[in-house]
């Protein structure tokens, strides 16, 4: 089987027509391929998220990770950019939707695209994945332990984000949720509340919560990494995207 792929930094059009940076990974076969927009976690557009983006290409998807902090810190290293974005209150929700929408449009316009586009996000990106799926026409969404879909951030938090569970009724596509039972943001109770809201709204969703795992269990370079949960989580992602995006 032909398995060549390539990955590179590109420019594409994001929110408000702004040219922003993104990391594109794609198989080099004839396609057609489904697409995935990868939303990085709060620590930024880093090496590990780029590796995740390449993993989607290895598995036969066109994948694009927008640098959500590009406007805050063009050219800065990912950690400096994350600190700057954090100090400014994080990524505004409308800008996130515009950037994800631009990334999905870029991927869908590629000649080898099958026209389907999904989204996945980790940490703060989990909330943003849900937000994107409720705001844009997408084909599949994955929320990996996104905090503050349900619940209000603690006082003193610099992030200017609020709960968005009321958007459940607007979800445009099936949602896969992957959570850790030891996580507090989101807590198991908050995951249950989101599950209930989606059920009441009649939205197709499947949630998996792992014992012995907390926040960021997919993060291979952090002590939070939980191999069993992460490996099973990846299988759930391949199965879910296989049904909704592939081919």
């Amino acid at each position: 089987m032909y398995d060549a792929m390539m990955a590179e930094t590109i420019r594409f059009t994001g929110h408000g027509g702004d040219p922003i940076e993104g990391y594109l990974a794609r198989p080099l076969g004839p396609g057609p391929y489904g697409s995935v927009v990868v939303i990085h976690h709060m620590p930024g557009y880093d090496a590990e998220t780029k590796e995740i983006t390449r993993t989607f290409a290895v598995h036969g998807y066109l994948a694009l990770c927008p640098n959500l902090y590009y406007r805050d810190a063009p050219g800065a290293s990912p950690d400096d950019a994350a600190a700057a974005a954090r100090a400014q209150g994080g990524v505004p929700d409308p800008r996130l939707v515009g950037d994800v929408g631009g990334a999905a449009a870029y991927l869908r316009a590629m000649p080898v695209s099958n026209g389907k586009a999904g989204v996945i996000g980790y940490c703060s990106g989990g909330r943003q994945s849900f937000l994107a799926a409720a705001s844009l026409p997408l084909d599949a969404a994955v929320d990996c332990y996104g905090a503050f879909i349900v619940g209000t951030p603690p006082e003193g938090l610099p992030l200017k984000v609020g709960p968005i569970v009321h958007l459940a009724q607007d979800l445009s596509c099936p949602l896969l949720g992957l959570f850790g039972n030891d996580d507090q943001h989101p807590s198991p109770d908050q995951v249950a509340e989101l599950d209930k809201a989606l059920t009441e709204a009649g939205k197709d969703h499947e949630f998996h919560s792992y014992d012995g795992a907390g926040h960021a269990f997919f993060a291979v370079n952090r002590p939070a990494y939980r191999p069993e949960a992460a490996m099973d989580g990846w299988q759930k992602i391949w199965d879910f995207y296989g049904r909704h995006l592939a081919g």
């Binding site: 620590p43 810190a73 950690d79 954090r86 905090a147 603690p154 938090l157 507090q184 960021a216």
Partner: protein
């Protein structure tokens, strides 16, 4: 996402970053996931000069125990200075 209280303060002094010394104007202190330290959460301090861009930053990520020891050491050093020096 698991970020909690953030303290932001104006500071005067200098810091040495990746491009050499620069004038500091601001510091932020917060508990959050670290970029590099092998811990779930750390007490992070950024010494900054936002006018020089996001790369004008000196960052440290300390365990809570280390951060408390540092705070005590700073207070101790200042307290032991001869009268009139600080």
């Amino acid at each position: 996402m698991c970020t909690y209280l953030t303290e932001k303060l104006d500071v005067e002094g200098s810091g040495k970053g990746a491009a050499g010394w620069f004038t500091l104007s601001q510091a932020t202190v917060y508990l959050d996931h670290p970029q590099h330290a092998p811990a779930e959460h750390t007490l992070n301090i950024d010494f900054l000069n936002p006018q020089q861009g996001p790369s004008a930053r000196v960052a440290v990520e300390l365990t809570a125990q280390s951060a408390r020891a540092l705070a005590a050491a700073i207070e101790s050093a200042l307290a032991s200075a001869p009268p009139g020096l600080v």
